[in-house]
Amino acid sequence: MDFSVIHGNLAYLLWGSWPDGPLGGAALTALLSIGSALASAALGLLLGVMLAMSCGRLKTALILGLGFFRAIPVLMLIFWTYFLLPIAFGIDVPGILSVMCALSLIGGAYLAHSVCAGIRGIGRGQWQAGLSLGFSRLNVLRYIVLPQALRMMLPSFINQWVSLIKDTSLAYIVGVGELSFLAAQVNSRTMVYPAEIFLFVGAIYFTLCSALDVMARQLGKRYRSATHSH
């Protein structure tokens, strides 16, 4: 094991050729993760509320649509967005945006079900109390149900973000210069210490993901003890 290859390429792996060139590496992975995390949370919240509040045909359509995004591999969806977005909008969409779009759609589809379950988990009494106080349905949702449901859903949001960080590595396949892509680039340029390079890169991802993972477990524990004490 010889980690000098890491030392020589550390800056490149961490932020690409920035500030002289485009941002890349771990910094771009972080950017991609944060962007898709926010977008998938917003999308998941919207779709989850729709799923919980809708009925009949709209509900069936939503379930089928969400099921589709949960059934196809992330890689396949990245192909679709990468090739279709430019055609749909007639402009050149940067690769990073199409990857972000694919990750948000998948993340949103998974989160929608947890949001829906969270809303269902709030007892009927809360709804009835809110309505009898003269709140509109939307305001009951906004001020009474969601604040309670979100606290319960936080661990599943964080778990979704963990798999999101891992999925940003798929941007490699369409040539976005994030951490995995630069690692493969450094590997094919040096060709000497592949094990060291990928161990190091794996360790960066591991640090990011397990920090979030530990947070999710702590929150889950705190929530469980909070409900038991009531």
């Binding site: 059934a71 196809i72 890689l75 192909f79 590595s169 798929l170 040539g175 592949p194 094990a195 161990l199």
Partner: protein, 262 residues
């Protein structure tokens, strides 16, 4: 060998027209996609049992009374779960051979077939396929082991105590009391993981395994029929997942969970 798909999309704007969207794929392209589909199925059929077995062993190891074994298993599961499959595949494909002794590496590269007793010989799978299956199995086993653990934790403690009171041996308690109940709780979760295995098998294209996603990219590059190539591949993935989903429903119907929900 390794497929790097950094490609230009610009020229596709000019080639794309509404008419092309509805043209069918030529039979030879469909055949490529079908071959990819078969390889995806093959990966699934190898990885699902292997990951289940390994995941079960990891659960046992993590619960072992011998501390170092328990820590090692827990640590390995955490590392495998919290790093991307793509990086793990690269590690097994590029990194691991560099760590192996030369003789083993040569044997892996040269071996073309395995002779079986009775003069039969099986073609030895490609190096890419072996690495893909190994990486996917280890990654999935970590997730499977968490689901099995969840299943075992779902069995009430009182079941264990009751079995002990009846004078059953530890092995009997596991075999006749804990395992059947844990399996019923874990089965829906496990089916979810099996679907993930099929979906994640698409990542092996990055190390050159010619499965369904690889084939769809290949057809797309040669024929320029983006919609049809990705469309057929997407439908085939949805088909596999739908079959697994139906199996999951059937299993859940056949094995209702008694006594765990009060």
């Amino acid at each position: 060998m390794v497929l790097i798909v950094a490609l230009q999309r610009q020229h596709r704007f000019f080639l794309w027209s509404p008419i092309m969207m509805f043209e069918l794929l030529r039979p030879e392209y469909l055949f490529w996609l079908f071959k990819g589909f078969l390889l995806t199925l093959q990966i699934g059929l190898v990885v699902i049992p292997a990951a289940t077995l390994l995941g079960f062993l990891a659960t046992l190891a993590a619960g072992s009374a011998w501390r170092p074994v328990a820590w090692l298993a827990t640590g390995l599961v955490a590392v495998l779960r919290n790093s991307p499959l793509l990086v793990q595949l690269f590690f097994w494909y590029f990194g691991a051979p560099a760590l192996l002794p030369d003789a083993v590496r040569e044997w892996l590269n040269i071996t073309q077939s395995v002779s079986l007793p009775g003069g039969l010989s099986l073609p030895w799978p490609s190096y890419e396929f072996l690495c893909g299956v190994l990486g996917l199995t280890l990654y999935s086993a970590a997730f499977v082991s968490e689901e099995i653990r969840a299943g075992m934790q779902g069995v009430p403690r009182t079941q264990q105590h009751a079995a002990e009171a009846l004078g059953m041996r530890p092995w009997q308690i596991f075999r006749y009391v804990i395992a059947p109940q844990a399996l019923r709780i874990a089965l829906p979760l496990l089916m979810g993981q099996y679907m993930n295995i099929v979906k994640n098998s698409s990542l092996t294209m990055a190390i050159g395994v010619m499965e369904l996603s690889y084939a769809s990219r290949q057809v797309e590059t040669v024929s320029f029929k983006t919609f049809q190539a990705f469309g057929v591949a997407t439908l085939l993935y949805v088909l596999i997942i739908a079959v697994l989903e139906a199996m999951a429903l059937l299993v859940q119907h056949r094995l209702p969970v008694f006594g765990t929900r009060r």
